[in-house]
Amino acid sequence: MNDALLVIVVVTALAFDFTNGFHDTGNAMATSIATGALGPRTAVALSGVLNLVGAFLSLSVAATIASGLVDTNLVTLTVVFAGLAGGIIWNLLTWLLGIPSSSSHALIGGVIGSTIAAAGLSGVKWQGLVSKVIIPAALSPIIAILVAATGTWLVYRLSRRVAAGARSHGFRIGQIGSASLVSLAHGTNDAQKTMGIITLALIANGTLKSGASAPFWVIVSCAIAISLGTYLGGWRVIRTLGKGLVEIESPQGMAAEFSSAAVILLSSHFGYSLSTTHVATGSILGTGIGKAGAEVRWNVAGRMATAWLFTLPAAAIVGAAAFGLAHVIGGLAGGIAVFVILAGVALAIWLASRRTPVDRKNVNAEWTGSIAPAEPTPAGV
């Protein structure tokens, strides 16, 4: 019986990894698409491939994702499953609204919610949550803003005698390299989070011994899922990051991407599973601050920051509710019921997104204050 539930959990985890991919395509590629350094289709393909490569590069984050945050002895398959449901629903809702929120926080929030529902407040390692998740989440965008603003200021200062056209052209070429680096960094960081979750499920099921590392098939399937998600391209989020937050020129784009890559890779080296989204958004904001006369849309930034504050608790509530439902029905039937509801909600959100579609054709349209570009025909919202 448990093996059937395990299959559902693994499928759900890979689905989460897939949403993680398309939710975060914009972190690496939004500025390159906005400045025209890469065509939209080329950008998502390149990013997908590099996420795949990146997923195999480093495995230092995978171990820390859950072990320091919840009491792993209390974690059952249902807890992992309900946590994933919370993460997926939050990811899809924020994608619908075009808000670049953290997939990592969605996942962590979901797992914490389902752990609380299963074992009470004492099942959560609160100090671990604060020191490994909340404090890094508060600091990382600030560091990214600082680095990107400094980089942007230096770049404009040093290249001020270069003709505007040549400068724009040169940095567009540079952006291809820097955006690739962020994609690689995203793969090393984010794919590991799902690897960690699936490993946790395998341990909870008794398939693996406690403390085991991710089996090879887990690494491969997670790498493929995040890469396919990235290739799909989360155009709604790309649009907000590339057009909504700051009007970006190619020197700013390159400074933002270098800042993101450096901060993500360094933090990853220290074992912090911080949010690539928080870093990338901070970097883009920083380039708006570092360039004299650049327009930063603080209302868009504020909307994002609000969503970030809600990510952990909102995903936790969905995770707890999912656990409650699965627990009340019980066993495999409970798992299947939640899975069906989850699929239904995902379908509904997707259908809602079709009413105001954002795709590679209109992703760069003039920002008019909303996610969906103004259309000649009235949109049915």
Binding site: L154, L158, R161
Partner: protein, 83 residues
Amino acid sequence: MDWINLTALWQIVVFGLIAGAGLPAVFALGLRALSLGARTQPGSGESDEIVGGNPVGMVLGGVCFLIVLASIAGGIYFIVAAS
């Protein structure tokens, strides 16, 4: 367990600034060097020709771009080797 790992924090900030802000700056210097000798004047030209044609500038530009590429390669090696 400490609430904040200050050692990690300052290293992330310092090395973040060196790599994240320093490398684009070196790239900008390279672009500046490469454009030496260009006929178009700053601000006035619509031309997107990057190479100005000055031999010294081209060598200096090449050195700058090599520094950027070597740093990226070194950084990736560092990440892979550490895991």
